[in-house]
Symmetry: C2
Subunit: 211 residues, 2 copies
DNA sequence: GTTGAAATTAGTACGAA
DNA sequence: TTCGTACTAATTTCAAC
């Protein structure tokens, strides 16, 4: 299976650099911003929107692609219209040292739209799209449960998808309106009791793809 | 905030029809299949790949757009390259009758890439992209915790994104290789003890956007 | 990094099968 | 409906600045 990631496995350190290849300037981000809204815009129109020349836009566009900053272009579709109106999240606990098998089985499940390895109580979360709830049930009981690597599952249904941004950009942060207090000010008098962080548990082992 | 959904609120019933507007035939699905891989393909090239005439491709392409089956086109980007290499899932318990406020606050958080209302222990799941873990912490403690509508949160980090399909299509199902047994055969002798479905709890109330 | 002109390709309209 | 063609408009490429 092909890895799409991405995330630094050694999550803790603040040592992450942005530009291993290309380092993105404000113009690059502006380009991505436009492409996020309209992935089919012509490079000419893109140049206009961003305020650069066409040749420059072509160069940067190609650089973003070549560098891998842009992974691919895609269409966003309405799942209800295609008959897969039921979405579920399945949290999976994976038997240690069976990650390879788990990943292999995942590759055989085209109804899985997303799979991430997480810290916390479970080891992975997968999102599936199905025609009806019965199919979700069948998927969990017949397919997932039969994978020896799967120790346990927990399924929740998605009732509504409130928000989906194609992706988040660093420049988005400045758009935050009316922050009641700044991050600095607030430090310390937060009702910490309300929240809970879930530690990595055995999750770290998950990062070792070959076990 | 704008709703992207989608999911039938009355999840249970198998009464869902596909084509409220357009009803998609095999050719439509083929088009979507191509567009999923390459959202920037020209309509001419699309016509070739699908095996229809250019004119027909234009007609169908436009129909899919107009119908809403295709919601938009977008670029998929590498979060690490843009400096937002840390991804976290925050499970939120929302105080009843405060959904409207919760949604309003969400709209102010551009670092939220995805938010779904779920059944189960929590009421919503949000996915955020940040530069480092400290920022996730700040987000949860300073911003989310200050929203009165938020009763509690639980945060897990994403260690790896193993798989992301732009979307799932009904036609994907046939690609499932080597199914050990069919769904029908297997019914009954599944180790049900391994899994657990989490009921809707108070989640249903979440569907009423105006409370 | 920009501009402008040639070559190519995309989008549209329409008649025929 | 779908296809094929001809027509118009736009985009991409490539050159020189």
């Amino acid at each position: 299976m092909s890895d799409i990631s991405s995330n630094g496995g050694s999550g803790g350190g603040p040592s992450g650099r942005i530009g291993i290849g290309l380092d993105l300037d404000a113009t690059h981000l502006k380009i991505l911003e436009v492409l996020r809204e309209n992935g089919r815009i012509s490079v000419s129109a893109l140049a206009d929107r961003v305020g650069i020349s066409r040749a420059n836009a072509y160069t940067r566009f190609e650089a973003l692609r070549a560098d891998g900053a842009i992974k691919r272009f895609t269409a966003e579709i309405d799942h209800v219209r295609t008959g897969l109106g039921i979405t579920a999240l399945i949290f999976v606990t994976v038997r240690q040292q069976m990650w390879r098998q788990f990943r292999a089985e995942l590759a055989r499940m085209p109804e899985v739209e997303y799979c991430a390895i997480t810290t916390g109580q479970h080891d992975a979360m997968i999102q599936v799209r199905m025609a009806d709830v019965a199919e979700v049930h069948a998927m969990v009981t017949d397919r997932l449960a039969n994978i020896p690597a799967v120790k346990a599952t927990e399924t929740v249904f998605i009732l509504d998808e409130v928000l989906r941004r194609p992706y988040v950009l660093p420049s988005d942060r400045e758009k935050t309106r009316a922050p009641r207090r700044t991050v600095q000010e607030e430090r310390g008098d937060v009702p910490l009791g309300k929240m809970r962080f879930v530690g990595a548990a055995e999750g770290r082992a998950a990062l070792r793809k070959d076990d």
